[in-house]
Symmetry: C2
């Protein structure tokens, strides 16, 4: 079967031919429908993540997948069920994090990540997975199920953020998403649909006309151009934010978030920047965190519960959003286009097969 992989020395991903995998006990064989592309794939291609699977001289890409169960084996699924697979897997033997359904909380070394580090991803015509790592997706979302994984990342981060405010009476009314990439826009829609924020903002650095600004405004949110209004000045220009959701990976944003927060607010951090030294007014930042009961929570990955919440939310998103957000779905023969990134690209996916209602 065909797969899209990175190999040592190659300039970028290539199509390779590999054997169709055979599901073991407790696993299902899944026919891949679509696999989304995101920034992490770019980092994997650039070699910024961990190694190939131990027995392999390549790494099959892709961690945002939706597929159809073809051989359910002894899993709880039936032939034709649409599923999205989670990303983390035990590195050989299982461990407490996987056993209690929280692989997203496992420390480095206690997991592989399919398509990212140590385990093949989903960019192949078929993949196998233990049933416990497959999440049901309604067939109406078969074409969009590749958005479940990124939205689960948002859900996990928001779960941590809300938990951090759960010991007191916290009513969040204003939120800003830092970053107008696909994750930022999905999060903005999630905050609108699920959390009912009165006032939503999204920060980017694009000139109009721009398709992401159109989506921001169609969601009823206010676009903030970071070239005009730096993050720390958001309270002065707009208002202090109860929630800041950082999805830029720009390290200074993590610090400026503290200034952007309203008293008792929380900043959810998701970006993964490289080392970068710079000056901060650490005294003021520390003081501000304390005197106004502010919090910063870092968040990575997601588990089955977050996938399920993401499925429920996607089901409620308006159709226009998907049409505007998904700017390209490409067959394997044109896969390079899915990895291209310019100002007209928001979210792309590679299509391995088409879903057909049974």
């Amino acid at each position: 079967m065909k797969a899209i992989a990175v190999e040592p020395g190659a300039d970028g991903p290539v199509v390779i031919d590999v054997e169709r995998p055979t599901p073991g006990p407790g696993a299902a064989l899944v026919r891949t429908l679509r696999v989304g592309v995101d920034g992490t794939d770019g980092e994997v291609i650039a070699g910024h993540h961990g190694g190939y699977p131990a027995d392999s001289n390549h790494l099959i890409l892709g961690h945002e997948a939706v597929g159809v169960v073809e051989e359910p084996g002894d899993t709880r699924f039936s032939i034709g069920d649409v599923v999205a697979p989670t990303v983390r897997r035990p590195p050989g033997a299982s461990n407490e994090y996987f056993e209690r359904g929280e692989p997203d909380m496992a420390p480095s070394g206690a997991y592989y990540e399919r398509g990212i580090e140590g385990a093949h991803g989903y960019m192949s015509e078929y993949f196998t997975s233990p049933g416990e790592y497959l999440v049901s997706v309604p067939s109406s979302l078969a074409d969009l199920g590749f958005l479940v994984e990124p939205l689960s990342i948002t859900e996990k981060a928001l779960e941590l953020a809300y938990a951090s405010r759960s010991s007191f009476d916290w009513t969040a009314e204003s939120a800003v998403v830092l970053g107008n990439g696909s994750l930022g826009l999905l999060t903005l829609a999630y905050l609108r649909e699920k959390h009912n924020y009165d006032r939503l903002y999204c920060l980017g650095r694009r000139d109009r006309p721009d398709p992401t600004i159109d989506i921001i405004e169609e969601l009823g949110a206010t676009y903030i151009d970071s070239r005009e209004t730096p993050v720390a000045e958001i309270p002065a220009v707009h208002e202090p934010m109860d929630l800041v959701f950082e999805a830029t990976g720009y390290a200074k944003h993590a610090f400026e978030t503290v200034a952007a927060l309203a008293p008792n607010g929380v900043g959810a951090l998701l970006g993964v920047p490289e080392p970068w030294e710079f000056d901060v007014d650490g005294g003021r930042l520390h003081r501000e965190l304390v005197l106004h009961n502010k919090a910063l929570v870092g968040s990575v990955n997601s588990n089955v519960r977050h996938f399920e919440a993401a499925v429920a939310a996607l089901n409620k998103f308006p159709a226009w959003l998907f049409e505007d957000l998904v700017t390209g779905v490409y067959d394997v023969s044109q896969f390079e286009a899915a990895f291209d990134d310019d100002d007209t690209t928001i979210k792309t996916a590679v299509q391995f097969s088409e879903y057909e209602e049974r």
Copy 2:
């Protein structure tokens, strides 16, 4: 009656003579037993906090008080009840934070702080307070009730810290308290008595022999000398910490806390430093927060619930701890000694009257 106050132009606190206050409706008259001294008093004396009460040319000091109800008025208390008063009061009209019992979450401008900003403190022979801001203290703790307020600060910070980890299965086994002042030591005892940490550490910068190191070790904790082991190196020298409790006010500690934390750990920040610019590896710090689901929570002040939890905890502390921790209790005539601070001083209080069992 006598009171200890700061006045414009004075070098330090002075004893003044003021009229005994008269309780209004809903308030009680309390005869003061003891009032603790802490770092915030030093900042008030140095003029680093807000103003005097609007109708006053002085500010009576003291926010860590215990007293005996002398005139209960229409409160729920009886004559002779031992009580500790909370610190924040509405600035004129009440507001939502006070109405829901969470004045500790009120933003700047929405509160006065007795003895600190805008309202007289408790360092006087008598004080009045609405009954809702008085917390019952068992008579067995009449001499030590001035420790309720500082311990309530610890309880509030830990409540926020634990809440931030409540969305997943978190078992904290290792904790380090940054700072071996009285709050740090009280916190260490609290972590030992209430939270059952297997492994406790406390960071300071003192040479042996030192009375705070003796307390640390008697509590079964390990002393870390920050001159030998900086905060960021604690994981390498000892172990990564599930909980870091910062009680130094040293701004760099807030940042180094991230490196000291174990995966999924939380840092509770309590210090209130002045502005101070310095270099940080912000990229690494941001990345570390995200990739290991770490959190930082700032915490200030406390409410009645935290006072009640502090009373319950103090009741269980061993007698030796109080003997070692409270290094001086001084009559009003010798009050200056309570404000002296050297390496033999841990916690001091001013005594206004003695408790007599009825």
